[in-house]
Amino acid sequence: MSDWSYVTLAYLVAWGGVTAYAVALARRVIAARRLEQRLRAALDMEARTAVEEPERRAGGNSTASGWTAEGE
């Protein structure tokens, strides 16, 4: 192998390694950002459901809804 073959191999290894790490890191950051957003959205939705559900149930048994209880 000539001197320049070793130099080329070294530059390929260095740049290849750095590029591969940069791509992997970028993908990990994007994936983590998406997951965090989805989890937060799911948590918000669950919290909203937890507040609305008792209200709906309370509203369903109330005469104010227009329903009349049996025997009245």
Partner: protein, 230 residues
């Protein structure tokens, strides 16, 4: 720490530009060495990448001490981010050193004290990353990792002293503080530009890796909140 995360675009662009200039200086502008000829050009990568590796482990060392002192997980995040980069750059250092050694020393690898100490450093911090993977409790993980991060760093001065303490093939330092370097001016410029370029690249990677650590911590907090509610 926040500064380095927010300046990602600036650091990334600067690193790319400087690496291109450094590549040109190292491959074209700098003259070949009188003994090693063009193979010496590998040093414009090997030395800056080795510097990045040691810088990374220096950050792990300081961040680990800060964590044990302050007990703030942000220092643990910094140590974890830097350790990952340290392992990457040390692996590249060994690979590039090996490629350089084949035409100059006639072997891909030899158990020279400096090479052996560098390989040990690499193994210590691979172990550090594995330890982080197996420990589940974040506080316990941070404490254990901090101890390994501090003890592991003791190998770094040993790497530098190894070429003076023991006889080996690896040459001593070319740059010494307050002493004239033993390099041609153009070689010196090429090396310094590449050192700056790889330091900026390190800062860019560290910022991005810290962002990832912050996102992962937020994810864990959300899951923890959810587990508490269930």
């Amino acid at each position: 720490m926040e500064w380095i995360e927010r300046r990602g675009q600036v650091l990334g662009t600067a690193a790319l530009g400087l690496l291109m200039v450094g590549g040109y200086l190292g491959l074209v502008w700098a003259p070949p060495d009188v003994n090693q000829h063009d193979v010496m050009r590998i040093m414009y990568l090997h030395v800056p990448i080795a510097w990045d590796g040691e810088l990374a482990f220096g950050v792990v060392f300081v961040a680990s001490i800060m964590y044990l002192w302050k007990r703030d997980l942000k220092w643990d995040r910094l140590a974890a981010a830097a350790a990952e980069l340290g392992v990457l750059f040390t692996a590249l250092t060994v690979a590039l050193g090996s490629i350089w050694a084949r035409p100059v020393w006639g072997v891909w690898w030899t158990w020279d004290p400096k090479l052996t100490a560098t390989a040990v450093l690499f193994i210590i911090y691979v172990g550090y990353l594995m330890l982080r993977l197996v420990a589940e409790d974040p506080v316990r993980r941070a404490r254990q990792a901090a101890v390994v991060g501090i003890v592991g760093f003791l190998d770094v001065p040993l790497i530098h002293l190894s070429s003076q303490l023991w006889r080996g093939l690896h040459q001593g330092a070319t740059f010494r503080v307050l002493q004239d370097p033993t390099l041609d001016d153009r070689m010196q410029v090429a090396l310094i530009v590449n050192l700056v370029a790889f330091t900026v690249l390190f800062a860019f990677f560290l910022g991005q890796r810290l962002s990832l650590g912050r996102l992962e911590q937020r994810r864990d907090e959300i899951l923890w909140e959810e587990a508490q509610r269930v």
